[in-house]
Symmetry: D2
Subunit: 304 residues, 4 copies
């Protein structure tokens, strides 16, 4: 008998999602889908799943209760092309299986990431690892041109050295981190959700976030029900610490949210942590549901 | 120069924590501690950590922002003795490194877990994988004796077969899951926190929870600051889904928590999910801080 | 476009391979095949693969040179039913992803492994973890009956306790290790080869070896070329240590193999290691090619 | 009680092994040693180890029989500084735990790898990923100067952009792969042996091999007996495929090694595979034991 397949995913197979100026993501293959999550969960829980008759209910139940192993039964393989500095962040996800083009074996092609002018941004004032406002237009244009010129010069030197017979493994060492590389990359759905949670975050670097967005589209096609549950229970969920829960409970008992001074009355958090708490409570970028009097303070999500 | 050591952890080394009737946990060795979390984080963030001068502030910052890699730098090795049905749940944590006694090589010793009478409990009514009230005293006494008798009979048959020359790998196949086994088990702190979050949960099976409690004591000795941060940001934290956050925000805007009917007004959750939500909001077993009008509905934490 | 599929593998899908008295293995799904190994290798090596035009040559080249990552691109999912003592060995392969039936959730069914009479064997004299000759027929019949009787008694006690309302998580603790369990088990081809190398070995316990044999059939169907390369370069290869290589070279220079005393002349190995060396050199169970004057000494392969 | 420590390893702690022009390796901490391998093996095999009374015999036995889990009980933490193109090869070993300096958080320092003139080598003629003879002296001097000039120019541009306020995560994208980075890197002994086998190989790129050599020194200090067993059974072992074993056996039976034509008589290998076979048989770089009439053909070890 033929394998189970997911028509919406089959339509995507081998279509390229263009990412950045010269990169792409394409779904090469997949195994499983919503049906296989349900199938393997039913093996585990046996009669325990009788009360959760619908697949959708079961998938949501599993995800919000950390029953992660059924999600490991879905696999996706991607072919991706991205700048090396993006690949360096990406490869920190050690649970994936990958095959990357080798600069020792192959001659690297002359393709570099050149940011748009609008992407030339100031260092963020409040986020040590982020970008802020766009820089002045003239300056940006000049810098884009400088990036591009340096890339051309370095590639020219590389090309000459290779032509003159130098070992490729050595000639490549001065190529810039903006050079494009390629790989096959395979991951299971549980670890994909972890990747997406970190890399779809507004504080992930823009250049990897756009890859995450393309892969999120593919994931949605392979297992639409599980993806929706991921958005509900992971991506857009909020976690409150023990101390924050105590503040929250006091607010609920004392008549709800009032204003910032009210919060000061019931807690002794530092101003940094207070900002994080207020932001978690009211900041809902995906739903455009904002408390008007609150300026959200954004949350750091870690270094790469 | 000598390695960094943690005096409080050195005191524990090779002391046995008695667990269940015949089991134990002992800390055999460890590497790192709070200092090595800080040290490896400072390599990553460099000047980014200047504003977080205190180690405690940095460790809390890392944990509540999912910067998990510095916690992987701490290692602990345990020597444990536990019934096989407990080992079967435990071994699902695949990131640990272990060496277990082999029933093919060795003759298993005559030690089985016999539950206390008070542990003879009814199946939980609301939790498909849990235990409820204690069963009647007479019945419990009878069953404890039955457990014990069957163990003796099966071990007697095993012992005879081994004495009569049967291959150990075969003679052992009918030994009960209550037989004690032993292993060396090594894990890093990040994965230890994951283990503890799942196995300290009130819905973990009692017989593995008591091992988790002993290991939590050891973890606290090796890295007291990180352990406290774990209790604050992971163990006693609460996560609300996108839908739950919308309900929470409405309650805060409309004057706080009122009563169950009020919740019904603002949401269309199923009664199961409503119970989960109310429980997350008010149920705080560690802090004895309970809203009196609410009967907590407990949360499932998954199968083994 | 539809996914690539392997007709020979599709034919197997959902067919049961019967294993032991009540167990089975069935291939539930797979992703990739010989073509995807080649495809991902060509991404890595680019122009480096031009000289290896044939897929078969490339796959063999990769395997004998430890280029293992392209083999990770193939995935297989199995549904298996096996005794718990077999599952306990199996689960030591931590790179697989699995969902097992839970004895906390579900009522275990009354199915136990009862060995054939011919399987009732003596402890091996020379292999501490193995089985030797069959035991006397009468004795074996008696023991098979004893196994079976004990299983019935223990299951009866279990069944009563569950009926009387005892928590399933507790009632099950005395069930024997010969009880059948089930799981979904997913692994990539690189780690499958590692599993097969260890579990197809003549010194793996018989009861897990028969599962490995069924899974080897499925693997062969999914990627026939890679499987043949595995047999050539891994399963039937022999590794010689530095010291053994020195002996081998001396023998080759001095006119070939003579007799055991000759070996004694050129080396000072212990008799145990000498036996291992001679066995590696001449013992070829798969090819029936044996040096008649040599009695092979079998090699230990480790505990479970 | 204090932890077990290894005096020879304690002496190394925090000493820097200088590697390349500006890099280093230093052992930061370790856990376990030869004693802990033995200790955890004895738990597994119990009475099975009685006949292997000496630790050295036991460790060798474990390693040559693929009993790898006791080696996982030893951990080492390193602080390393290396060029990014080296880090990119290194990070493919996914079983390690690492914290690397982040170019999003921190301003990268002005340190680049500049190869020695003698390292400016031709592409290898027979190894698609290797280096061959040194290039002419004048050419090399010119290229070293070009590498260095480009590095200075690119760093200058980076520095200006950072000073002018550009986001660090963006300003860094054109920095060359020869830029130095730093990390804390922790691995267990089993996986360390795998790393060393691949990276000490003569065909690993020179620039990572020198790091492997420094780490091999540290490993030897932490567990001298296990390291010696690694050299004997892994690093300097040779593996022969089924087909190669058949040729070897024929040679041994027919009077030993004669000359290349003799080999042609008994086998139908391709010339490439014949070269590999002859090289495995006679090529012993570590022991300076060479058959004079044979020109070794070197073995590819894979791409990065």
């Amino acid at each position: 008998m033929p394998r189970n397949s997911v028509p919406g995913a089959d339509e995507l197979l081998n279509k390229h999602f263009k990412v950045l100026d010269k990169g792409f993501v394409r779904l090469v293959d997949y195994m499983g889908g919503d049906h296989s999550i349900v199938q393997s969960a039913r093996v585990s829980y046996g009669s325990g799943t009788k009360s959760l008759r619908e697949d959708k209910g079961l998938i949501n139940y599993l995800l919000r209760n950390w029953h992660t192993s059924p999600f490991e039964q879905v696999q996706m393989t991607f072919h991706c092309k991205m700048p090396i500095f993006v690949a360096r962040q990406w490869v920190r996800h050690r649970t994936a299986r990958l095959n990357e083009v080798s600069g020792r074996y192959s001659i690297m092609t002359d393709e570099f990431y050149v940011p748009d002018e609008a992407r030339i941004q100031f260092q963020s004032a409040d986020n040590k690892q982020g970008s802020g406002e766009s820089m002045p237009r003239d300056y940006s244009a000049e810098k884009v041109s400088e990036f591009s010129g340096d890339q051309g010069q370095l590639y020219g030197h590389y090309e000459s050295m290779v032509e003159e017979g130098m070992a490729r493994e050595l000639a490549r060492i001065n190529l810039p981190l903006s050079l494009y590389t390629e790989w096959y990359w395979q991951i299971d759905l549980h670890n994909m959700f972890h990747f997406l949670r970190l890399r779809l975050d507004p504080h992930a670097q823009y250049e990897i976030r756009v890859y995450a967005e393309a892969m999120a589209e593919c994931t949605k096609a392979v297992c639409p029900v599980a993806y929706e549950a991921f958005e509900e229970h992971i991506l857009n969920s909020r976690t409150f610490s023990r101390g924050e829960m105590m503040v929250l409970r006091r607010m609920l008992r004392r008549g709800g949210w009032n204003e910032d001074s009210h919060l000061g009355e019931v807690t002794k958090m530092s101003s940094r942590r207070k900002g994080e708490f207020v932001s978690k409570l009211w900041n809902t970028p995906k739903e455009k549901e904002k408390s008007p009097e609150i300026t959200p303070v954004e949350r750091d999500t870690g270094p790469d």
